[in-house]
């Protein structure tokens, strides 16, 4: 977190200097008039019965809180530097069961353990810089991404180019992104060396517990993506966009702490907890092709329709369709409410098996229900307050907007979740 704060301070000082150098030039309307600061926060909780850490059966209780700050700083007339930094702090009952034998609670996939893997914090910083041409028809951008959590770290970078044409009625964008990630695997406790020596006398079952597990040799995961976006204004009240991504991932795409139980192997337990036959094994590459379309239509000054559709295909056998609508309704000059609904459906990955169905002779297998066949409904509402004149001021900081969103999510595989989001946007004059 210290590094993130340092980046914000140094970035801000550098931008102030650059801004002063440009004061003598002739006046051009800036891409961004003032520094903007956004403070965002979300709270997420979920519960379900198909935890992947415990092989597709067990509690999925999880809570996650994410304080985030986004600072956008104008640099001269044509450039904007953005620093996006935040935390994601979670506690997870299923992750706690990487080691369910804490000696305090009975070992069970339905009971949270008090071990170290019960909680973790992901911290990240995403700096980005964009440059617009004087006629504002060409925009170049570059970005970087750094994130870290106990068992995972990532470095990313990317860039993009956007061209506006036809009196800014048409927009064509291309971009690319690379993530270079690395796992610090936390295998289920029973798959670690020395386990049977310590717990051997507590194991129940027919025969001797001999899991098939071999630690992963490859711990890196690289992701490469290219995107193409086309937006078009059709009328004074209607516009649409189409975006297509092409994604290639290679390396360790399995999650090392997710257990799998085989149909052709004996079952072994300590208390009520079944010991893993292996960790999930997934192919070392994956191609993804998502194609999304958005439309927005203004019925009148008060009511707008926002729609989104996506089709997704990947080489693991998942095909999915997403459709969502949001209808913002202005109830006064400053307040807008918006009900929203999202529907999602996917086919199962060809490597997905429910608990005790995969065979030890299979090459790839997982019991992660996120890769199973399901459909999901998400519905909620949002309220936003906007004051373009920023009349509420403290010193040189004016409040521009406040946003709140709430959504409830229900998956056909027993998972339920709620998510709240709260955001404040300030202008620094």
């Amino acid at each position: 977190m210290k590094n993130i704060l340092m980046l914000l301070v140094v970035g801000g000082m550098g931008c102030s200097l650059l801004a002063q150098e440009n004061k003598s030039q002739e006046y051009v309307k800036k891409v961004l008039e003032n520094t903007e600061v956004e403070l965002l926060y979300s709270y997420y909780n979920q519960d379900g019965t198909h935890a992947s850490v415990t092989g597709g059966e067990g509690t999925e209780q999880l809570t996650d809180m994410t304080p985030t700050i986004v600072v956008s700083i104008p640099v001269g007339e044509n450039n904007v530097l953005t620093l996006d930094a935040g935390l994601s702090a979670y506690t997870s009952a299923s992750s706690s069961n990487i080691n369910p034998f804490d000696g305090r609670n009975p070992a069970s996939p339905w009971i949270e353990s008090s071990g170290a893997s019960r909680s973790d914090v992901l911290s990240y910083v995403h700096p980005s810089f964009s440059h617009s041409s004087k006629d504002r028809n060409n925009i170049l951008s570059v970005n970087a991404a750094l994130s870290n959590e106990f068992d995972y770290n990532s470095i990313g970078f990317g860039g993009g180019y956007t061209r506006l044409m036809n009196d800014k009625n048409t927009e064509l964008g291309v971009s690319g992104q690379v993530y270079l990630d690395k796992y610090n695997p936390q295998y289920p406790i029973e798959l670690r060396s020395g386990f049977t020596g310590s717990f051997g006398s507590s194991i129940t079952g027919n025969g001797t517990y001999t899991p098939q597990f071999v630690p992963f040799a490859q711990l890196k995961r690289n992701s490469y993506s290219g995107s193409l976006t086309l937006s078009q204004i059709f009328t004074k009240k209607f516009q649409a966009s189409l975006s297509m991504d092409f994604v290639f991932q290679e390396g360790l795409l399995s999650t090392p702490h997710q257990r799998v139980y085989f149909a052709d192997k004996g079952d072994f337990f300590i208390e009520d907890f079944q010991l893993a036959d292996d960790a999930e094994r997934l192919p070392f590459n994956r191609y993804k092709l998502p194609i999304g379309a958005r439309i927005s239509y203004a019925f009148n000054e008060a009511v707008t329709f926002r729609g989104y559709m996506r089709y997704y295909y990947d080489t693991w056998g998942i095909n999915s369709t997403t459709a969502s609508v949001e209808i913002p309704i202005k109830i006064s000059d400053k307040f807008t409410v918006y009900p929203m609904y999202r529907y999602y459906v996917q086919t199962a990955s060809k490597y997905f098996f429910p608990k005790d169905v995969a065979l030890s002779t299979d090459l790839y297998y997982t019991s992660d229900y996120d890769l199973s066949a399901f459909n999901a409904h998400q519905y909620g509402f949002g309220i936003s307050y906007k004051d373009i004149f920023t009349t509420a001021k403290i010193w040189k900081i004016g409040l521009k907007s406040i946003d709140f969103r709430f959504n409830h999510y229900e998956r056909s595989t027993d998972l339920k979740a709620n998510i709240f989001g709260l955001g404040f946007k300030f202008i620094v004059e």
Binding site: L40, Q46, S154, N169, K237, L242, M244, W316, Q346, G423
Partner: protein, 69 residues
């Protein structure tokens, strides 16, 4: 795939004949008309990337950068 190509061609065919002037874009410039996710939507997109097998096609992450898909 044919449907997608038709959509792209449909969009491209409009690029040469439609020209809404800047002063006519009052409705289009409204914050609610933006053809992108809202700032707060990032958190929903993030949990969906974890809880669903697919990602991308929405201007958000397409994979990588976290232990999700």
């Amino acid at each position: 795939m044919k449907k997608i190509m038709l959509c792209v061609l449909g969009l491209l065919s409009f690029t040469s004949c439609v020209a809404v002037r800047e002063y006519e874009k009052v409705s289009l410039n409204d914050e609610e008309m933006k053809l992108s996710s809202k700032d707060l939507e990032r958190f929903e997109t993030n949990f969906q990337i974890y809880r669903e097998g697919s990602a991308g096609g929405n201007g958000g992450k397409t994979g990588g950068g976290c232990g999700c898909n």
